[in-house]
Subunit: 373 residues, 2 copies
């Protein structure tokens, strides 16, 4: 007998099964196909993890070389897509740029049928940083940048496109780690969106377009940008503690703390905190790291809340020279690997996702013609 | 205690409450805010029904006049959006055109905040037929059509754009009925997609873009096109019966029959069947109506399956001069009224929609460096 009482937000409802990822086992774990995310972020590059998610195993050296080569060959954008990007205003939310760019790509290079899904997924993965970077540089400086950069990895390419500079090894290595921790997170709202769309047997571009739209929301992907806006307000740890104290007194939400699934700590946070500290050395606004630490300590003492992945990722991206509005789009470029993996999994054993609703509206009533209203 | 066993497709799970629509009460009813869809399709115009769905009540004459005037004033498209549409290839799935067009509109005219949601919804409703019609006419004949047609209603406008002719009263009246029966259907996959995206507090354009992508799938909106492809194969009722008999023998799915929710009949079907019969009179391929009837009779005798809304809508659209690839996009233009209503409802009492998953993947395993794989 199936439970039919209303379950707002589907919290605690199992909507399907997955072999891709397990979140929060033991209160503080995140594993991609059995591998701990902390090991992956320490030792792997993003393409290795994308390969693991999409194809089920960590690639051998030969497989990884071939995969990177294939992805690199897919970095260019068709002229019609560039024409579209050039027409998107400079003050547009960059997630809307990604959403429109991927949707347009789907009209120019449609997924022919499911036998092409791997190729389509790789192309989407390779094109998203290019879409973002092309629009960013064009609207910022009128430059029509060549998105097929010489960088070996997506991390290197996207850093070059978003900073306009040769990426340092340290920054590139941090980007790998950030893309890896953001790559996958089970049935979160954007991934679930992709699976609901996939359930109608729609094309991959529709699934990814929908997922980008879901990740855009402030209750989902927007948290890292909100965390940045918070810490940027303070010039010293003392000021930060006083400021956050006041926020709590006014019952304001402090962004970047606590998590719906993790109960003891967010396993992604330790990785990103180390990177934030490392990248802060010598930075013009290095004080943002001790500011962040002071907020962390205070939030734990006052509310027993721990920082989630978004909190230290914010300052780390900032120290790496990335502008705040690009934080969520970078999250999207990473999560695209998880989204595509879930679409493949949904399709492999598909059932249309169609829940029911509790009706709370008016009783049946007779139609009244417009003259008699 | 919440049920946690896996429920593929969320069938039977109540994902939330709604006051907009009740489907299948008593096995064969569809009511929009308490009003029977058969009455609405008989007596109302689409704008009256959109007003009912979006604003909760049937408009008075004054309200309807103002609403139609507002929607008419929103039919034009910005030049940048036209530039985008002109770059979408002629052989593109028209649902991809709508998806890209609405996403682009969101970059040019973003929803500022929730206080503007009614204005944004009205604009999306008014722009979708224009997006479809502009692209269709441009790619078909190179014409840069003025989408701000003189027609009083959306039904008239879209008929004119898609046929290139002054719409007859009969065809226009049928279009109203078809848009009304397609306007809303509770937590179907595309509407549920819109609600999942709305749950992250994302913008309306993201919700509608995702919903279009879900409706595109052959298990959802694509059924009316598949029904058309079926009936077009036959030149007589006898041939149709023989052909469908053979399909059943080969265990092929006959599109347009049966329904997941309705058990006795699809209440939308009677309306659309009457229109199909009426419009077939004098049509060059009038035989498609008796062909459809023969299939209906045979499917009931053999399988006890009744036709759903998509079955007779297909031939009726065809008799009205609309090309088959435009059937699902017309469904989308209608359902946009339901989607926007559900986004408003979700936002009014929001909770992030985030179900769980049953993990069926590999056990925890140690990371292996690439040299040792």
């Amino acid at each position: 007998m199936v439970e039919t009482k209303s379950t707002a937000g589907l919290r605690g409802i199992i909507a399907g099964s997955t072999a891709i990822c397990v979140v929060g086992a033991g209160g503080d774990n995140l594993r991609y196909r059995g591998y701990d995310v902390e090991d992956l972020a320490e030792h792997a590059i993003f393409e290795e993890v994308a390969h693991l998610l999409l194809y089920g195993h960590l690639p051998t050296r030969t497989e990884l070389d071939a995969y990177q080569k294939r992805l690199r060959s897919m970095r260019g954008l068709p002229q019609s897509l560039k024409d579209v990007l050039e027409r998107i205003p400079a003050d547009t939310h960059p997630m809307d740029v990604l959403r429109t760019g991927v949707s347009m790509l789907g009209t120019l290079e449609p997924e022919q049928d499911r036998s092409h899904q791997d190729e389509t997924a790789d192309r989407v993965l390779a094109a998203m940083p290019s879409i973002l970077g092309y629009w960013y540089r064009f609207t910022k400086s009128g430059e029509r940048v060549d998105t097929a950069t010489p960088d070996k990895t997506i991390a290197g390419q996207v850093l070059r496109l978003l900073t306009g500079r040769e990426p340092s090894d340290e920054r590139r290595r941090f980007l790998e780690a950030s893309l890896i921790v953001y790559a996958e997170h089970e049935f979160n709202a954007s991934t679930f969106t992709a699976r609901v769309i996939a359930g109608t047997l729609s094309d991959l571009h529709s699934c990814i377009t929908g997922a980008i739209g879901a990740l855009r929301g402030p209750l989902h992907g927007g948290a890292n940008e909100a965390a940045m806006e918070l810490i940027e307000k303070f010039h010293s740890p003392e000021q930060a503690v006083a400021g956050v104290k006041q926020m709590l007194a006014h019952k304001e939400k402090v962004m970047g703390f606590g998590h719906a699934v993790y109960k003891r700590r967010d396993p992604r946070n330790a990785i990103l905190k180390r990177w934030s500290e490392k990248l802060s050395k010598g930075a013009a606004d290095a004080h943002l790291f001790p500011v962040s630490e002071a907020i962390e300590t205070f939030m734990w003492e006052e509310k027993k809340l721990f920082p989630n992945a978004d909190f230290y990722c914010a300052s780390a991206y900032h120290f790496a020279g990335i502008e705040t509005p690009m934080f969520t789009p970078l999250f999207a470029c990473a999560r695209a690997s998880g989204w595509c993996s879930h679409v493949k999994e949904q399709r492999a054993d598909n059932k249309l996702i169609r829940p029911g609703a509790e009706y709370v509206g008016p009783e049946p009533r007779p139609f009244v013609t417009i003259e008699n209203r």
